[in-house]
Amino acid sequence: MNELVFFINNVVIAGSVTGSIYAIGAVGVTLIFSIMRFAHFAHGDMMTFGAFMVLLLTTLFPQAGAAIGVPTPLIMLPLAMVLTAALAVGLDRAFYKPLRAHGVKPIVFVIASLGVALMLQGLIRLFAGTGGQSLYVDDRKEIFRLALPIEGVRVPVVITEPQLYLFALTLVAVVGLHVFLSRSRLGKAMRAMSDNPDLAQASGINTHTIVAVTWMLAGGLAAIAGTLLSLDVTFKPDLSFFLLLPIFAAAIVGGVGHPYGAIAGGFVVGFAETLAVFNWNVLLRPFRDSLPEWLSLPGNLAFVGTEYKIVVPFFILVVILVWRPTGIFKGKVI
C-alpha cells in the first residue's frame, strides 16, 4: 500500500499539477490559433511575463495577502492577468497587426512571434536575472501530509498549499472559459470567427474586437498558467522553450482550435510526462518475491530519465501528427 501512496504522490498529484498548467497554456495557444491561424511561439514567455508581474507585485507589497489570509501572489494574480493581457494586446498592435495588414503567410507570423519571444525573454531576464526565485516572498508554503487511515500505510499523501490553489484556479478558469464561449455574445462571436472569419464579418461582427479579446484572454490565461507553475516550484525565467513544446503538443493532441480539446490534451501530456519519468520498479517491488529468479528487475524502470522529459511531449507530438494530425477531438484546421 505504501507503494500506492507513493504512486499517488508522484503520478496522480504531480500529473494533475503539470496537466493543469499545460492545459491552461494550451487553451491560450489554441485560441490564438483559431482566430489568428498561427502557432504563437511567444506564449511560453507570456506565461513567464505573467509570473514575473506577480513576483514583482508580491515583492512590492509582501503583506497584502496576510490581511485576507491568502498567499500574496494569489492576490496579485488578477492584476498580473490584466497587465499580461495588456501586454498581449500591445504586442499584437506593435508586431502582428502590421503583418496582418500586409496579408503575409501564417508562417511569417510564427517567425515574428519567435522574435517577440526573444524580446520578452531578453527583457525579463535583463530585470529578473536567470536564477529561480520563490513567489512566496513573505508567506510560508504550507505542506499538508494526509495520513491514510489504512493499516500498514506509513507514507502520507503529500499535497502543498499552492497545489490546492492550483486545482481550484484551474477549475475556475475552465468553467469560466466554458461559460464565456458557450453563453456570452462575445464568446460565441469568437467561435463564429474561428469557424469562418469572412462570414463573421458579413454578419456584422467586428473582427478587430474579436482579435483584441482573443489576445486578452490568451494573455490572462498565460498569466494564470505561468503563475501556477511558479507557485508550484519557483519562478524560473528561462523555461520558455521547454514550456512551448508540451503546450503545443497538448494543443495539437486536443485538435488545434478546439479549447476543450486543449484542456484534455494538457492533461494527456502532463500525465504522460509524469508516467514516463516514474520509476515503475517501485510498484513492482511488492511482487518481487513472487517473481521467478531469472527475472531480476533492474533498479531503474523509468521510461525516460527526468533529464529527457522533453522527449515525452515530442514523442506524443510525432505520434499524433503521424496517426491523426487533426487531434483526438478533430480540430478545425490542420
Binding site: 463564429a192 469562418n196 469572412d198 454578419s203
Partner: protein
C-alpha cells in the same frame, strides 16, 4: 426613391476589372434577380454592393445614401444582409447560435427575430440545438438565410441560394424567398436556375461581360425570345 440604386459600377480583383459599368435598381418591396452566363460578373456585382470588393468607379446608393466601399459591418448596420454561396454557415455553432450571430449588432431583437425566422423555416426549430455543419445542404441554406434575416435587413443579397440543391429544395427555397419578400424585405439575388428565379422576380437583370444586356420585369424577360434564346437555354 429606390431601395437600392447602383449606377455605372466598375470594379474587380487586383486591377482586373470584371464589372464595366453595371446599373441596377430595385424598390423596397421588390425581388431582383441577376442572371447571365458564367463569368458575367453576377456574384461580383453582389459582392461589390456588399463592400466585399473595391468599387473603382460609379456609386451604390441605399435609400439615396452612398454606401460604396464601406466596411461590411457598417453595411449590416445600415440594413443589408448578405448570404454567400458557399461557406455560409458557422459549422461548429448550433443552428440557434448561427442565427444569434446574425443579430450580433442588434442583440435586443434576438428573441423576436428568432421566432420569426423559425416561422419562415420551420425545420430549423427542431434542429436548433444541432451544429449547423451536420445539416443537409438545403437546411444549411435556410440557416444561412435565417442568419441574414436576424439583423432585420431592408435588403437581402443572396448569392445563388439554390446552387447544388435538389429541385424539391430549390422550389422550397424560392418559395421562402417570396415569403420573405412579402414580409417587406427587398431581395436581390444571383441565380443559375434562371427560369424559375425570373418567375418570382419583379425585376430581372441580365449581365454579360460585366455590363447590363437586358433589364426588365421578370415576366417580360421570360417572354423575350432573345433572352430565352441566349440565356435561358432555349
Amino acid at each position: 426613391m429606390p431601395l437600392l440604386d447602383a449606377r455605372d459600377v466598375h470594379g474587380g480583383y487586383g486591377g482586373m476589372n470584371i464589372l464595366n459599368g453595371v446599373d441596377m435598381a430595385i424598390e423596397a418591396d421588390e425581388i431582383g434577380v441577376i442572371i447571365g452566363p458564367n463569368g458575367a460578373g453576377k456574384s461580383t456585382m453582389l459582392k461589390a454592393i456588399f463592400g466585399l470588393l473595391h468599387v473603382s468607379q460609379g456609386e451604390v446608393l441605399l435609400r439615396g445614401e452612398p454606401i460604396q466601399n464601406l466596411p461590411t459591418n457598417k453595411l449590416v448596420h445600415k440594413g443589408m444582409g448578405f448570404v454567400p454561396q458557399e461557406y455560409n454557415v458557422f459549422p461548429s455553432l448550433t443552428v440557434k447560435e448561427n442565427l444569434q450571430m446574425g443579430a450580433y449588432l442588434k442583440p435586443g431583437n434576438v428573441k423576436r427575430m428568432l421566432a420569426q425566422v423559425y416561422e419562415f423555416f420551420p425545420p430549423l426549430l427542431e434542429k436548433r440545438h444541432q451544429p449547423a455543419g451536420e445539416l443537409s445542404g438545403g437546411q444549411r441554406q435556410m440557416v444561412a438565410m435565417g442568419r441574414a434575416l436576424m439583423a432585420e435587413p431592408e435588403l437581402l443579397l443572396l448569392d445563388e441560394p439554390t446552387a447544388g440543391l435538389s429541385p424539391l429544395y430549390m422550389h422550397e427555397i424560392l418559395e421562402r424567398v417570396k415569403a420573405i419578400n412579402a414580409a417587406g424585405v427587398g431581395v436581390l439575388m444571383v441565380e443559375q436556375n434562371a427560369k424559375q428565379a425570373l418567375a418570382i422576380a419583379d425585376k430581372g437583370f441580365v449581365l454579360a461581360n460585366g455590363q447590363n444586356r437586358f433589364t426588365d420585369t421578370g415576366a417580360a424577360l421570360l417572354a423575350d425570345p432573345e433572352v430565352a434564346k441566349s440565356f435561358l437555354g432555349g
